[in-house]
């Protein structure tokens, strides 16, 4: 069970994921934004797992956050949950599938999918992305996925099959690196395949270059 694995990882010392940190408490677990690590008493307390979904939905200015990996989670809150199951659910509302993906990758049951394969599968309005050149692809990913401001996931896919993403800074492709730059004991937050936002950005790039 994913929740049991999560409990094991916490016992091993992992206490962070993306912008989040979590800690065992007398009544269960606390989950909060890293920037509130030393000011939990001043944060607003939430006790329902569903609150996680609501908090993750908007940034601190109230703008919608379509990309969950974007480093713009609001702070100033703490979620108190009683069980590991609830903690897992809350983490999944903030970073959907992150733990399952890491466990699957670690166990060898899920593998990265190269960008070409993702783009070549597209139909309808995204079919045009099949024509993205390697160079356009590299530039796009370097910009759209960078950890300082765009997305905190660690990229494990290359442009072509069995090619490593060596066009990116090595830290962006190393699961043991905390993408927030804080060197915490963070659970790896992997990107095993280009997301729909990146595919959409590839389409915009194609439209721009053809006009």
């Amino acid at each position: 069970m994913i929740k049991d694995e999560l409990a094991r990882l916490i016992k091993e010392g992992y206490n962070a994921l993306g912008e989040l940190e979590f800690a065992e408490s007398t009544s269960g677990y606390l989950l909060y934004h890293w920037s509130n690590r030393n000011s939990l008493a001043e944060t607003r307390i939430y006790r329902s797992v569903e609150d996680a979904r609501q908090i993750a939905r908007y940034d601190s200015r109230g703008a919608y956050r379509p990309l969950k990996g974007a480093p713009n989670l609001p702070n100033g809150w703490v979620i108190e949950v009683a069980t590991i199951d609830e903690l897992k659910k809350a983490l999944d509302f903030f970073y959907p599938g992150a733990i399952g993906t890491w466990l699957g990758y670690h166990a060898g049951t899920v593998q990265p999918v190269c960008l070409r394969q993702t783009l070549n599968r597209q139909t309808g309005m995204y079919r045009v992305t099949r024509r993205l050149t390697d160079e356009q692809a590299r530039n796009l990913v370097k910009d759209a996925c960078r950890s300082d401001g765009r997305c905190l996931r660690t990229i494990l896919w290359g442009i072509e099959d069995s090619q490593p993403p060596d066009f990116l800074p090595s830290s962006k492709c190393d699961p043991s690196v905390d993408q927030t730059g804080q060197n915490r004991a963070a659970l790896p937050f992997l990107c095993l395949e280009a997301c729909n936002l990146l595919v959409a950005a590839a389409r915009t790039r194609m439209k721009e270059s053809s006009s």
Binding site: M1, I2, E50, R53, R57, Y58, Y64, P66, L67, K68, D92, P96, G97, G100, T101, G104, T109, V110, V113, R121, T123, G124, L192, E193, C195, N196, L197, A200
Partner: protein, 330 residues
């Protein structure tokens, strides 16, 4: 089962009571049947009031199964995925499935990652889409790597259900919405107008709206039942010409509220003169009735936001089992 037209539903623990014209339909897990009767007594619903209309329908417990509700989602409009989450929450509350997840084409969890979150080996995928079309026939099967209604992969059985809009109970929902938005209008002096998108990306949304309108027409409750579309005739903008009754109830046959229901359709209907971003977009549904050209127009929010959609989702799963599991076992 005879379709009675649900007028009100209430949930009591794992027991759901649909009140309808002839009585109540109690739906409860098999194990909760005695409890259902106990609950009836507790709720003091007189048994004579329940009369012959009472039906106990088993809602099988699916503790070993997971449900993945798939929506379109949006990178711009947070309201797009709200109904999908709302229905998932309601199903969680009823405690039927071991796990319930939402997944989206344009939001996270994506269709590529959602199955990594699922623990159980028996997975129902229900598209929260209003009709068959490009998404249900191409995008979802491709992204989830489905082989058909039943896919066996890595020890899991993945059951791909029909889109919710195909469920026969959508007719009940449309009735319910219409009554809710215009509770006091006499049905024999009312036109019910079901509005859909029409020509768009191979979606069969117009066909779906038409078949609902046909089914409602057959019941003979409203003086007139018609359909209209944004992008193909009969056009929504021609509603005044194409309806004949003094009261007109408009129900958008969409899965979520968004630009179409907040802005485009109100402009086409003449309720708003130009697309404006209202202070609260829900405001548009609160000003009923609109008096236009001597007629009273009642405008409902998208049918997919109806809380009873949770029942439609559960019915969709039951229909899948009847079609693909029980039938093939027989």
């Amino acid at each position: 089962m005879e379709d009675l037209g649900v007028t009100r539903s209430s949930v009591h623990g794992a027991i759901l009571i649909d009140r309808n014209k002839k009585g109540d339909r109690i739906r409860a897990p098999r194990t909760a049947r005695p409890l259902a009767c106990w609950n009836l007594a507790r709720l003091r619903i007189p048994f004579e009031e329940l009369g012959g209309g009472i039906q106990l329908t088993n809602m099988p417990q699916r503790w070993r199964s997971s449900l993945v509700l798939v929506g379109h989602g949006s990178t711009l409009n947070p309201d797009s995925s709200a109904p999908t989450f709302q229905h998932a929450d309601e199903i969680v509350r009823r405690g039927i499935f071991g796990e319930v997840y939402c997944s989206f084409w344009k939001e996270e969890p994506s269709l590529r990652e959602v199955l990594r979150m699922v623990e159980s080996n028996d997975v129902y995928i229900v598209p929260n889409f209003i009709s068959e079309g490009y998404f249900t026939q191409i995008v979802i099967p491709r992204e989830l790597e489905l082989e058909g209604p039943l896919t066996h992969r890595a020890g899991k059985v993945i059951k791909y259900c029909e889109p919710v809009g195909n469920d026969p109970r959508m007719v009940d929902l449309l009735f319910h919405r219409a009554r809710e938005v215009a509770p006091n209008v006499p049905p024999d002096k009312t036109s019910l107008l079901i509005v859909g998108h029409g020509t768009n990306l191979n979606e069969k949304s117009a066909e779906a709206a038409q078949s609902q309108a046909r089914a409602i027409r057959k019941k003979g409750v409203y003086a007139e039942v018609s359909e209209a579309y944004m992008e193909e005739p009969p056009f929504i903008a021609d509603w005044a010409k194409n309806t004949s009754q003094p009261n007109v109830i408009v129900v958008p046959f969409f899965i979520a509220d968004g630009l179409h229901s907040y802005q485009d359709i109100p402009v086409l209907l003449g309720m708003e003169s130009a697309p404006t971003v209202a202070a609260s977009q829900q405001e548009v549904f609160r000003r009923n009735p609109y008096h236009l050209g001597g007629r009273a127009l009642y405008y409902a929010s998208a049918i997919g936001t109806e809380p009873l959609m949770a029942d439609v989702i559960l019915d969709t799963i039951d229909r899948f089992d009847r079609k693909h599991l029980y039938d093939s076992a027989a």
